[in-house]
Assembly symmetry: C2
DNA sequence: TATACACCTTTACGTAGCGTGAAGGTAAAG
DNA sequence: CTTTACCTTCACGCTACGTAAAGGTGTATA
């Protein structure tokens, strides 16, 4: 497939000026120039552009991109694997930022307090990137432990009363879910009540609630067939229904 | 708490030049200037800086940030809610990009083909942002359906053989997990074998495997006490052990 | 008390990655 | 034959700082 500058620009979501600039700095040359002096791009250029955009998304300057792609040791596969890793790291930063903003909302409502350090969690991307080679191991070690601690903390501190309350919630969820499935409306009041009960229930086990994690757990109910079976045994279609109700409840859908 | 320029810079992960520039353009003025002409920042400035960084992260230019924050209708709470929404949208874009790079890897291995359109999925942030108000509803509607389809697709297409294979895998996981827990080493060969079996098992239900989702599911086994119970009934501590083994297997830990 | 050293200041020039005209040639449709 | 939608090069402008240069300040130590 061949593209004129505008067609490719629209396909890739960049400006035509960008292509002229990339041509100028010898980053991405057109496949050929037609008789009227128009730039014509081909399949190779499409793939190269995709690579460039990946690199750019990850914050490399164009000189570095050029160097990476023209290097004699350039390996497309390894490059793509690198992109994947970096993108995943970026998502972790984003998740931190989301946690940060949610904490800040809670703080603005007077529900919690935040240290000045906490206020900037997730913003220090550069410093993390720079120190990643030096301290990467320790950071991950620490992060990993933190996760482990977080998961186990709540369970240990539960009183008998808490335990009873949790049991009651479980039962209530199951019975109300049966009814709710029959309404067929995950966005309906009964389904939303179930979703809220479910939130209360997991709040006993998580030390910090987030809508994303809640939605994620609900999705897992559908992704793991044993869990689907657990809910569907109670009522066919209940797992998917609960997932949808939670998605609505957390604002992740519709 | 009061900060000199360098202290705050280190706390927030930005340069001192940035503060001088923000002072210059009247975006963020220090609380006061001390007798030696030093810039001194206070609590209010810390909070304002956090807001500025949120806006900046979301791609606004500093003029727009200034306008937003000095507007007479400025509402911190609404602003924060807006940040949250935008950050979540950003994460969706990132997820698309991750899907894209994973597809591209598959393509580079000759396992699939990609249309030129698919090659740029996730890059078109601007266009999406611009059209978000107009087409937001339809996009989310479509996205939601896609998710639903994705979760159900595989289950329907399973043959008898597949079903038997899945059952066998389940059993193998449980028995090998019992043994593995006794070794006490989530990074050991037996535990890693279990993690790999678990990957095979979920691959029957997911139409695209990702390490993150795998790790996420394992984490959910610990987060949801009923699931913890399911594995721990087989062998105490099995859920946490499996989670740790999968974290190592997926490279998310250590 | 000197001096080293880590801070802070202002002034000023540099730059990456385009955006945005201006001035003009070309292709395809009506 | 004209309109409209493309395409070209040339060139200046802009944002958000980075990076010296030249010099004042605070304080711990020789």
């Amino acid at each position: 497939m061949e593209y004129t500058i505008n067609k490719l620009a629209k396909l890739a979501g960049v400006s035509t000026r960008t292509f002229r600039y990339y041509d100028e700095i010898d980053l991405l040359k057109p496949a050929r120039i037609n008789s009227s002096g128009y730039r014509i791009y081909g399949e190779k250029q499409v793939d190269d552009l995709q690579q460039i955009l990946f690199y750019r998304e990850l914050g490399l300057n164009l000189d570095a991109v050029k160097e990476a792609m023209t290097s004699p040791t350039y390996d497309l596969y390894k490059s793509l694997e690198g992109h994947r890793e970096k993108l995943l790291a970026k998502r972790e930063h984003l998740d931190q930022l989301i946690t940060n903003v949610e904490k800040t909302i809670a703080k603005s409502e007077g529900r919690i307090t935040m240290t000045d350090q906490e206020k900037f969690e997730g913003f220090k991307q550069k410093m993390i990137d720079e120190n990643e080679e030096r301290y990467g191991f320790e950071i991950r070690e620490k992060y990993g432990d933190e996760q482990v601690d977080k998961s186990n903390r709540k369970l240990k501190g539960m009183t008998k009363e808490d335990h009873d309350r949790v049991e009651a919630l479980s039962q209530e969820i199951l019975t109300k879910l049966r009814e709710a499935v029959d309404t067929g409306e995950p966005a309906g009041p009964l389904a939303q009540e179930v979703a809220d009960l479910h939130r209360q229930w997991i709040s006993f086990y998580w030390d910090s609630y987030s809508k994303e994690a809640h939605a994620g757990l609900a999705q897992m109910y559908v992704d793991d067939p044993r869990f689907t079976a657990y809910y569907d045994k109670n009522k066919p279609g209940a797992a998917v229904f609960l997932r949808d109700a939670v998605l609505v409840y957390t604002g992740m859908k519709k």
